[in-house]
Point group: C2
């Protein structure tokens, strides 16, 4: 595979963007990434999105956006893998460039969730689960995660407050990210007293959805040179893996086997191990997922994920900084866009553009995006080089 | 790009498969293709589908099918480009293998349309058009095509009966295809007297939707050898192109510019021209589209597509045989699956497996799949070799 690099990045704020359409939100991120890359257009467009058919009545988003940003006669396609759509689109763009078929790929993750009422969005999000065997039983996405979290607490002896550091860290970092949805610090007391959503998951365990888009331009690595203050960022590892659709089909619902497999393949491709990762943007849709991701990716023993939070190891100055721009918890979770936000944020870290949440000397960053309750998991490892 | 070959193909009948679920239909084609390839599993799964979120309440079809067919821990993703989803998934699989990231890719195009009532499906199909500027005006997909056909007849002086040979040919060929939805010969008189759908498009100008799935296994070409009675089938050309989403935004709504661009790029990649194509599976969703595709791909002058039908040049023994297995018109149009049916049918022709509709000595075949009213168009050229 020929090596690829990320030449440009762009993002919009994550928020309830009532005054902007799907088209405008995705276009804003796309144009920002192209401008950052110094390009007018790309040769191919890969759009990651989950909900537009259900929420906006719009399919064929590849060409929909190609049209809007003036990329007629070029290639375009939409990729969907539930909340993993963003990273799945990134990997499709990556393979297109790696294959030699495409010289410049623009990847846009976009989601417009406020075109429908909240209960419709909850129903739309449930299409990520197994329609016949999970959704028909009345389970929602948050309740699936609640079942896993309750079992995890029972098996490994954690109490709810032990998950607080994950959310506190995410909120603390988001304060310094102008694109984040939430900008308020939270305390342990607030975490414990927050409204219940689906026991044991309360409002501060859960990530807020929102409208947003993030984008990146991928090119062959040999065409990029780093320059003063802006290193070249290459894709050192990329892998996807799947698990069963339904949580109840898994031998061990508390182990993210797709995170394990995709991270191991990405490490192998990059020739590194978890100890080499300077920053990790993980998929903290719910606080339990932070623990499970850290364990599956080799940063903690089974059942010991919360320990990293309690020991402050996940903070910007810690051993494995996570959610440095706020994570899903506080930057927000515009579902099909989230994977691209993670990529963009890792690039920002490797470029040293993160101000008060900059990880000192970050050279290798990892992004992990999850579709469904751990059903589709993509892991990307990015590396800053100075050549 | 490393050259790739198609090692196995599979398909289900196109029909109203009331007794089978989305899962079962896609799985049937997937298993058939794997069996044909002599494999138990593939390394990665690419699913082309348009309507499952709207019709079956199911997203994340990549992992949904990976789970069903036992491809856990492997890679899987869904690709959507409206009715062009099948070929778009094929191209994504192709690039994954071409990049060297994947050694065996299984591509499945699948659509289950009978889970909802007809008017719901019509509304779901309209999500291929521009939601804000077309669908909001009340236009349906067939009426968009009717506007184009009416204008074309006016501009170039054709009458409705001049399009009859396209449908008559498709029906005649489908009689010999056990996977086709329709198996009845039609006459010019029937064509002229058929019920009106949206003037000038009547029932026999339009393709029937249906449930169905078709699949193929893609591998590096160097790993395949042709053998007696079954040549090696390689992908000689692959290209995608886009046009504006809305038909009214085009300078010339009667010219499929995305068909022009994608076919030219595919010809160039294959080092051939239209005169070298032995068989052409085109996207005859409506009879007008047959004329427009033939013109944009270089088989007829502008406005002269119907002449090829009237002169019998599109028949199996003609200059450019089209719809040799029935086309969308009579094999049926399970929208997100159609592009994969076309690929499978071209492979059948190159293998010489088409019985009474076999094109003698077919060595080079082309498949063209269209998403929206010409908005996304993918062209693939396959070649039979004996090495």
């Amino acid at each position: 595979m020929r090596e690829v690099a990320i030449l440009g990045i762009g993002q919009t704020v994550v928020d309830e963007q009532w005054n902007k359409s799907l088209k405008e939100i995705g276009g804003e991120a796309a144009f920002a990434a192209l401008e950052d890359a110094g390009l007018q257009r790309a040769e191919a467009l890969f759009v990651g999105n989950m909900l537009s058919p259900l929420v906006s009545g719009q399919n064929q988003l590849g060409t929909f956006f190609a049209d809007w940003i003036g990329m007629w006669s070029r290639e375009s396609v939409k990729i969907e893998a539930a909340c993993g759509s963003g990273a799945a689109a990134f990997r499709a763009g990556l393979m297109a460039v790696a294959s030699g078929e495409v010289e410049t790929a623009l990847v846009v993750g976009v989601e417009k969730m406020t075109d429908k009422a909240g209960h419709d969005v909850t129903a739309a999000l449930a299409t990520a689960a197994d329609a016949d065997y999970e959704v028909e039983q009345g389970v929602s996405f948050v309740s699936l995660n609640a079942l896993v979290m309750r079992r995890y607490m029972y098996e490994f002896g954690w109490k709810h407050a032990d998950f607080a550091p994950f959310s506190i860290n995410a909120h603390a970092n988001a304060v310094h990210n102008p694109f984040a949805r939430l900008h308020d610090l939270i305390t342990l007391e607030q975490f414990e007293k927050s409204s219940m959503v689906a026991t044991p998951i309360n409002l501060l365990d859960a990530s807020p959805v929102g409208d947003g888009a993030a984008a990146a331009v991928i090119v062959p690595a040999e065409k990029v040179r780093g320059f003063a203050g802006r290193p070249k960022v290459t894709v050192a590892g990329s892998a996807a893996a799947t698990d069963t659709m339904a949580v109840h089909s898994r031998k061990d619902p508390m182990f993210l086997s797709a995170a394990y497999h995709s991270s191991r393949r990405a490490y192998e491709m990059a020739g590194i191990g978890p100890q080499d990762i300077d920053v990790f943007e993980l998929h903290d849709a719910f606080s339990i997922m932070t623990a499970l991701s850290l364990e599956a990716c080799g940063f903690a023993e089974r059942g010991q994920g919360p320990r990293l939070g309690l020991d402050n190891e996940i903070r910007v100055a810690g051993r494995i900084p996570v959610c440095t721009r706020g994570g899903l918890k506080a930057r927000g979770h515009p579902v099909g866009a989230t994977g691209m936000y993670q990529i963009v944020e890792v690039v920002q870290q490797l470029r040293g553009e993160c101000g008060k949440t900059q990880v000192d000397g970050a050279r290798i960053g990892m992004a992990q995006n999850i579709g469904g309750s751990g059903a589709t998991i993509l892991t990307h490892i990015l590396r800053a080089t100075s050549d």
